[in-house]
């Protein structure tokens, strides 16, 4: 396998995107973003809305955090401050996006706006920024990792939403309703996604 640094720009971008979205799915293999996933995935519509918002925010914040880490924290030797800086960058970015959307498009705000505050505390966002540091990525690769991670989360939550819509109509043991059955669905989906592992190794 050729190392990432020797690959063409496009090949490495696609490879990182696919591996972040499928083989290393942030929700199914890394367990991140579960809280909002359990809360929001009751319907496909809301899942789609939150999923799109998450893709946008992870892609942007992973690029932003990469720049902040490499060009501010590393030169100053302040790597241990990364947790605080990352969460502040994410919170500030989400706030900014919310204000911009509110001013420019009322329609988009109504469909996406309610999800934005939920995103600051979605651990998938912070998680992608933290996992990114463990790998020797350059700027575009960090962006691809964020984009792929967000897409993987979007895919998982939409599928779960669709399954839950169907399950709502069946009779379940009362203790299993809600989170119990959702966790089992996610477990079975995680089993399915294990099939992707080994497809790509980075």
């Amino acid at each position: 396998m050729t190392p990432l640094s020797d690959m063409s720009f496009f090949a490495s971008f696609v490879l990182i995107f696919v591996s972040a979205a499928f083989t290393d799915n942030i929700l199914l293999a890394r367990f991140l973003g579960m809280c909002s996933c359990l809360g929001v995935s009751k319907k496909v519509d809301t899942s789609l809305g939150l999923g799109v918002a998450v893709i946008f925010v992870t892609a942007s914040t992973s690029a932003l955090n990469y720049l902040v880490y490499q060009y501010m924290l590393v030169p100053l030797g302040l790597q241990y401050l990364r947790l605080i800086i990352f969460i502040v960058v994410i919170a500030a970015f989400v706030q900014l996006v919310e204000m911009v959307i509110e001013r420019t498009s009322e329609k988009l705000y109504n469909s996406l706006g309610i999800f934005l505050p939920l995103i600051t505390v979605n651990c998938a966002i912070l998680g992608i920024s933290l996992f990114m540091l463990n790998k020797p990525y350059n700027f575009s690769q960090a962006f691809a990792f964020g984009l792929g991670g967000g897409f993987g989360w979007f895919l998982a939550i939409t599928l779960i939403g669709a399954i839950r819509e169907r399950i709502n109509e069946s009779a379940l043991p009362r203790g299993l309703e809600g989170p119990g059955i959702t966790l089992i669905i996610i477990g079975i989906m995680a089993l399915g996604f294990i099939g992707f592992s080994g497809m790509i190794k980075i």
């Binding site: 367990f31 579960m34 241990y80 947790l83 969460i87 912070l126 933290l130």
Partner: protein, 203 residues
């Protein structure tokens, strides 16, 4: 006063247990539970952060402007998580390599933020400290239970020590080591807890 502390402790551990009752903060609960040693470090981190965050938020509750309280709470939480992160890195660098990113993710653990917002911002410092401690312990109890099952079934070990003569009688369940095992275990625990609850409400 003593009885109210016991009540807070009991609520956090059983009646209002953050994981199976409110289904909060399970992200990190699942990722670190395939080895008990990792889980214990993670639990320590959560208990430390939850109780001290509650204490600090409660001390400052009259000085934090309502509009920006979220960001102030996040910064308080992040400061404590940073301490824990550095501490674990110093004490157990090997373990830190595995659970490092998840320790950082204690910041976005909804339990901590939730308790700071729901309890600490309206109560005095000492009961708040107690509430954080109780929630941390309740969270740890569930995590440890899952980790014990997963490690024994998945690896045939406990705290890294092999079960006696395991080659003779035990086939390791690889699935318990992998992500689906965690989801299924947590689902089973929520099922039991909720079924008990339904029965209680019916009677």
């Amino acid at each position: 006063m003593g009885s109210s502390y016991t009540k807070i402790l009991k609520d956090g551990l059983l009646d209002e247990n953050p994981i199976y009752r409110q289904v909060l903060g399970i992200c990190s609960a699942l990722a670190v539970t395939n080895l008990l040693t990792n889980t214990l470090f993670m639990c320590f981190g959560v208990i430390f952060t939850a109780s001290l965050t509650n204490f600090t938020v409660s001390l400052l509750r009259q000085h934090i402007p309502t509009r920006i309280r979220m960001i102030v709470q996040v910064i308080i939480i992040a400061s404590y998580v940073m301490m824990i992160d550095i501490l674990i890195k110093a004490v157990a660098p090997d373990i830190h390599r595995f659970i490092g990113p998840y320790v950082g993710l204690i910041i976005t653990n909804c339990i901590i933020m939730g308790r700071a917002e729901a309890f600490a911002s309206q109560n005095r410092p000492l009961p708040s400290l107690m509430d954080g401690l109780a929630c941390g312990l309740g969270y740890s109890a569930v995590l440890i239970a899952i980790a014990v099952v997963r490690e024994i079934m998945g690896f045939g070990t406990l705290l890294g020590i092999a079960l006696p003569a395991r080659e003779l009688w035990w086939t390791q369940w690889t699935i318990m080591v992998m992500p689906p095992g965690a989801f299924f275990m947590l689902a089973i625990m929520t099922w039991f807890a909720r079924a008990k609850l339904v029965k209680q409400e019916a009677s």
